[in-house]
């Protein structure tokens, strides 16, 4: 099992909070990696919110290949940040030669482009870089999107923290939303792309689960949208479904739960909205999930979301105080970093929990 967490706060936070959140849950993961996504950035990225930020780990060759692609398309570098590396002896980490966090300006021809055109350019570029890096075995691109920074690494979360100097707070690197995972990747190879959280066009997703409908989901999603690639983890499917419901179909968020864990036919037929729900159950049958899962997500509206499988086979708890909400696998994590808080929420199998941008928590019953 992996351990996951999502923190959203009115105050900007440093990723050390994610490390601490995960530390007390370490019995539940295997020390095989640590990854986080920061959104709604502060610190040195505060003034570049509209511009795409590239998060990448690559060899020297990979870095050059990516830079070539970006230059060719017409992107120009605005700002670059490199983590301060502490390469002390004995750390359990499989570090890459370069970690690139780079803010870019859109090509000149995109000066009057619509938001949609810009987004299209970003996804196409990200796919191109990913393909090139994969072919050259020269690195990994994790996100290429405004106001989003991603880091993933293989090794012990504690040592990864030391290596990137993440244990100490630092006002330069902060965000309003941080999602993180310590992982135990029992099913698949330990590869960086398999580490949660996953990011696609404004949507971030991470899961503690085993999606037994992975093959069904993957077979269907592969043909749904060009951005649905990789499938190194069965949890990516959940993110892609969220993206499909919201960004492609433009359906209200509540239909995400109806898609991944549809109600039984008998339950649906007692409801007023049965026509719609039965259509969704049939048309999106291939996006249903099965098996134990807790899924956390961040939407472009800067909301947090939490849903569970239809039998609630995986743990999750949500804690809140006046300026922060935390969703995480075990209450031990909450106790550690937020000892003083309101009553915790343990969502049930039919709920969707939404944390609005102003931190109000909504509990929607499916």
């Amino acid at each position: 099992m992996c351990r996951i967490g999502a923190v959203k706060s009115k105050k900007r936070m440093h990723p050390s909070i994610a490390l601490k959140l995960m530390q007390s849950q370490q019995e539940g993961h295997d020390d095989s990696g640590f990854a986080f996504v920061m959104q709604d950035l502060g610190g040195i990225f505060e003034n570049y919110k509209e511009l795409p930020l590239l998060s990448m780990a690559a060899t020297v060759e990979g870095t050059r290949l990516a830079e070539d692609i970006l230059r060719e398309i017409g992107f120009s570098r605005v700002m670059q940040w490199s983590p301060e590396i502490n390469n002390q002896k004995g750390l359990k980490i499989e570090a890459m030669p370069n970690y690139i966090f780079e803010v870019l300006q859109y090509p000149r021809s995109f000066k009057h482009a619509t938001k949609q055109e810009k987004e299209e350019l970003l996804i196409d570029t990200a796919i191109k870089i990913r393909k090139t890096l994969e072919e050259a075995k020269a690195g990994y691109i994790y996100s290429f999107w405004p106001d989003v920074l991603t880091l993933k690494e293989i090794g012990s979360p504690k040592d990864i923290g030391i290596y990137f100097n993440l244990w100490e707070g630092n006002a330069d690197l902060t965000a309003g939303i941080i999602t993180a995972q310590c992982r135990q990747n029992t099913n698949y190879d330990i590869v960086r792309y398999a580490a949660h959280p996953f990011f696609l066009e404004g949507y971030t997703g991470l899961a503690n689960g085993e999606n037994t409908f992975f093959e069904k989901n993957r077979d269907y999603q592969q043909k749904l949208y060009k951005g649905y690639i990789g499938f190194e983890s069965d949890s990516q499917c959940l993110l892609y479904t969220l993206h499909y419901i919201r960004k492609i179909l433009k359906w209200p968020l509540k239909y995400f739960k109806h898609t991944i864990t549809p109600l039984s036919y008998d339950e649906i037929t007692t409801r007023k909205d049965r026509e719609i729900l039965l259509r969704i159950k049939a048309s999106l049958a291939n996006l249903e999930i099965n098996g134990p899962n807790t899924f956390l997500a961040v939407t472009p509206e800067k909301e947090l979301l939490c849903v569970c499988d239809s039998k609630k086979l995986r743990p999750v708890v949500i804690g809140k105080n006046k300026d922060t909400v935390i969703m995480t696998s075990e209450v031990a994590g909450l106790n550690d970093i937020m000892p003083e808080r309101d009553a915790d929420i343990y969502p049930n199998e039919r709920e969707t929990i939404i944390v609005k941008d102003d931190l109000t928590i909504e509990r929607w019953l499916q």
Binding site: K223, L249, A285
Partner: protein, 542 residues
């Protein structure tokens, strides 16, 4: 010297030889009465009664049971005679050296016809070489077949891609803006299409009763397909019509009455199946021999007593586009586009192209694809078709599913597979494996016959369904034989069998961690056969 006519039919040419023990026989006559094929007769033997060494020649007459040596009245090995004999004095024994089929053709200059299924069995059973090998443990725990809830329902009807549903939003709520093709949610087992005529009215009624009971009392939404032979008008006008899928085939038998009854129907039927082909004898039309066209069959079908042949093709339909436009559209229109219209074809090398064409039909009016494999049974066929034409179901079903996957269209036209399921005694396992390979559900006729007491086998036992002399009263139309079948008992057996199958399906869903049907979950399957692994794209294990 006695003359031997080697060109006449001999007892040793027959497929079954009767072994009769005169010392046990009490001459009750039950065996001859029980034999519907008139394959045995009482007769008198003239025997020397005193010692063979005695010079006196004394004779006696002894009443014995003798096997008839005839191309028409010959023993089918059905076993009814031994079933009724109080002393076990008679039994039929398989003749390994039988020459019957040669003799039949040599003497009748006609192709040999039979019922049941192919008896060649050259293919072996792919499904038996597949196991459910991905068992959830630890990280994704197995479910508990007894404690957890499972949903065994599949859509039946044309399913549109989500972006074609044309939903609109009003606030946070979706609503429909266009009328969409009808889709119902049914149990993944459909009772196969056996017509009134092919089976006796008692058998047909038993299946209909079981269907209604399963739906109304047990809450298991199975559907029954009428077969090409119509449906009793009373049933059609009743509320039970909603469980019945009406079939139309190239002979259009029974549709005169259906059309007349339509204005008085109180419920829409569960669906329509347009039968194009049949797995047991693809490329061949339907065949109901005159001996089975009983009076009520004539009435329901509106035909005289004669051999009833459905042409191999629907007259006037020459292309898929044309079929879709003419026949499917009119069937859809007949019930106001409120009833799913499906098609049944024989598995064939060309099935994938047919499926593809239907997937691409812009009118979205085909709501199900029934694929019938070569191990399927039939009421009557030329033996040559039964034994030598057709295509196994498993790879063809898989091909159809994968061609849909390739286009991102899996599930749009639900796939139903049939033909010889449960042949080796594990109907639920066969159904489950086909579902994992991509079927939405399965259909079966032979399982129903088995539960009703059919004595036939895949190795030449009985298979006389074409004769109207079915010893179990299943495929018979003769009143005395039909009475052998206890309608209530058969209905009860079918219900019980489905209840058992339901438990067994859950017993297979639970360990792979699925609470809904694992349609297309081929990752759950393994095979110990390398060729099968390659062909079906499932994991090889050894």
């Amino acid at each position: 010297m006695a003359s031997i006519n080697v060109n006449e039919l001999q007892k040793s040419d027959l497929p079954w030889i009767i072994e009769y023990d005169e010392s046990k026989c009490i001459q009750c006559g039950k065996c001859t009465a029980a034999c519907s094929f008139n394959a045995i007769s009482p007769c008198v033997e003239f025997r020397k009664s005193n010692s063979i060494n005695s010079p006196d020649r004394k004779f006696e007459k002894v009443l014995v049971i003798k096997q008839n040596i005839s191309l028409d009245n010959y023993c089918r090995g059905c076993g009814m005679c031994s079933n009724v004999c109080p002393n076990g004095a008679i039994k039929a024994v398989r003749n390994k050296d039988d020459k019957y089929s040669v003799a039949y053709r040599a003497q009748k200059a006609d192709s040999f016809k039979k019922g049941g299924r192919s008896n060649l069995n050259t293919e072996g059973r792919t499904l038996d070489k597949i196991k459910i090998g991905r068992i959830s443990q630890m990280t994704d725990p197995s479910l508990d077949a007894q404690r957890h809830t499972f949903e065994l329902r599949t859509p039946f009807g044309r399913v549109l891609k989500a972006d074609k549903l044309n939903f609109d939003t009003c606030g946070e709520v979706l609503y429909e803006t266009t009328s969409l093709p009808p889709v119902s949610w049914i149990y993944p087992i459909i009772f196969g299409d056996m017509s009134i005529g092919a089976v006796s009215w008692r058998m047909w009624e038993a299946v209909a009763i079981a269907t209604a009971y399963l739906n109304e009392v047990m809450g298991i939404p199975v559907r029954m397909c009428t077969g090409e032979g119509g449906i009793p008008t009373k049933l059609l006008k009743s509320r039970y019509a909603k469980y019945m899928i009406l079939q139309i085939a190239s002979g259009h038998f029974g549709w005169n009455r259906i059309l007349k009854a339509m204005p008085d129907m109180t419920e829409d039927p569960a669906g329509i199946i347009i039968k194009i082909g049949q797995g047991a004898k693809p490329g061949d039309g339907g065949l109901l021999q005159a001996s089975k066209v009983a009076r009520y069959v004539q009435e329901i079908r509106g035909v005289p007593k004669a051999d009833l042949l459905s042409p191999p093709t629907h007259q006037g339909l020459y292309s898929i586009e044309e079929s879709v436009q003419k026949m499917f559209l009119s069937m859809n229109a007949a019930f106001n586009f409120k009833v799913p219209v499906a098609v049944k074809v024989a598995a064939s090398v060309t099935s994938v192209s047919v499926y593809n064409n239907l997937l691409r039909d812009p009118y979205n009016i085909v709501g199900g694809f029934f694929l019938d494999g070569l191990a399927a049974g039939t009421g009557a066929a030329h033996e040559i078709s039964l034994n030598h034409t057709g295509h196994p179901i498993t790879s063809k079903l898989r091909d159809c599913y994968l061609t849909a996957v390739k286009q991102g269209r899996q599930g749009e036209i639900p796939l139903f597979a049939g033909g010889g399921l449960g042949q080796t005694g594990s109907f639920a396992a066969d159904a489950f494996k086909l579902i994992c390979l991509g079927a939405n559900g399965v259909f079966t006729g032979s399982m129903l016959l088995e539960t009703a007491g059919c004595v036939g086998s895949d190795t030449g036992k009985c298979n006389a369904c074409n004769t109207g002399l079915c010893p179990a009263g299943i495929a018979a139309q003769n009143d005395n034989l039909v009475k052998r079948l206890d309608v209530d008992k058969v209905a009860q057996n079918i219900v019980n069998y489905i209840l058992a199958t339901d438990i067994e399906l859950k017993k297979l869903m639970a360990p792979i961690g699925c609470s809904s049907l694992p349609i297309g979950r081929s990752d759950a399957l393994i095979t110990v056969d390398k060729h099968i692994s390659n062909r079906l794209d499932i994991q090889y294990a050894c």
